[in-house]
Amino acid sequence: MTTSDDTTTLTHAEAAAIAQEVLEQVGRAVVGKQKPLGLVLAAILAKGHVLIEDFPGLGKTLAARTFAQALGLDFSRAQFTPDLLPADLTGSYIYDQRVSEFSFRRGPLFAGLLLADEINRTPPKTQAALLEAMQEGQVTVEGETHPLPVPFHVLATANPVEYEGTYPLPEAQLDRFLLRVGFGYPTTDEEYAVVARRLERQREEVSVEAVTDAAGVRALQAAVERIKVDESVGRYCVALAEATRDHQDVLIGASPRGSLGLVLAARGWALVRGRDYVIPEDVKAVAGAVLAHRITVKPELWMTKASGSRVVEAVLASVPAPGALEHR
């Protein structure tokens, strides 16, 4: 399942159809929220990791589990608690008495989709254990490196309001997440739909059909890699990231990884929208989710409404977008 030579080539229309089908399946479990769900899928297709930050009870965990089911990936969940140790995530060597030697027992990291629930409740030591896994796709335990399955994606959740007993993710760790999305509260009708579906289902858990499998996800990701980005659009992404660095409220702006993330996420979003080329509107659609968490606002502005999202909004409303007559 982790070999990559079984990847079949998909045309962009086939890939877009599969992506739509995945979103449809996820939409059966999670009511509404098309934009954030589309963003999460776009990030997975762009080989990225996602941080879902919102209040408890808004369907973060459900969305992550449903994505794993619909994408046909191995799913594992790690509840991040204050006493969680790196070895609890990566796995560790355990003495096997039958063969009189140490054998490696794999931790929850060895999955296609890892749900890191309440990631900010665990100390930095354990958070850092995720870094290598997320960036390199491998874990090193006692000097020995173990490759993780491909695809490997982390969907982490965090609660933005409770600060007691939490360890906010450091900037270096936040930068590893391609997107940070919030789900927000459902509308009245959507909320009733949640209730009605639960009553109709007559059981708590909800399961959806697998649309594809790990090989299929790799093929989708390969299709995203073939999506064209016009030079003007690429330069627009760079200009946006650059503008966050010069904004008056910003202490540290988005890194070059931010502009790269912008292009990659926009490609994923373009595929979800059924195109094999990126338009500036794709960049605008993903900009908030890609850039806001990479921006550190000046500490003296803590009492004002200044935030990463507001900076991104301001930047989007000031950086010149590619015009009609700049074609090659």
Binding site: K228, D230, Y277, E281, T304, V319, P320, A321, H327
Partner: protein, 260 residues
Amino acid sequence: MDQGAASARAQAWRAVAATLGACLVVTLVGWAALIGPSQVFTGPGPTPSQETTTTSEAPIDEVEEKDRDDVAAREYGPTTTVVANLVGGAIQVLTLAGMLLVAYLAVRRGLTAWRLRRRYDAPVDADFETLEGGAPERVRQAIADDTDEQLRLLLDGEPRNAIVACWHRFELQAVDAGLPRHPWETSSEFALRMLERAEVDSTAVASLLELYREARFSEHALDEAHRERAATALRAIQGQVQVRQRTVGREESTPPRGRR
């Protein structure tokens, strides 16, 4: 938007007034503090101890007398005066430092409030400008005036460039109608805003928009079939604009019923 700016300005002024008020109160308190303790420490001192030494009418218990003498000696001793002066000086210096700090903070807060006030002002002007120009009739008139030229551009030259040039023509028409494109707006966002203003049916617009995006940002090969589809969509848009112009004109020329 106007109201928002006005309330922001009121808020800014309120913040400045509040800090000035706080500054005044602190100054008064500081002044009182400077006057009060300094007199206590540097003045002639309390009188009761002097009385005890001069009064002989009421003989007081020996021990108590001795105690009072001790107290008096301590109060008027040279060391006590030095300590008192030192403490008084320290209080004065601290109060002055506190007042300077408060003044500094007040000025800084005022500057921040001023900066925020100016920041809220900018969008008001921009919105005002947008509302001024680009009335629906003017936009429709601009599109109608440019019908032939836009169609000629679309039917001329390589399909990809022709479609892009045709779409760009909307921008020029909008400038004529007093509805300029914001630099941060993408061409599609802007043209959509403009065509919405002209109340054109969205199906034809969506079809032309899709072709423009494909021509501008993809590497797909575009041929005469694409040009034909674009021309159909453009003719539909132009036709709708003319129909809309006529109906609006008729509505304006016939006086509304039921009114005297």
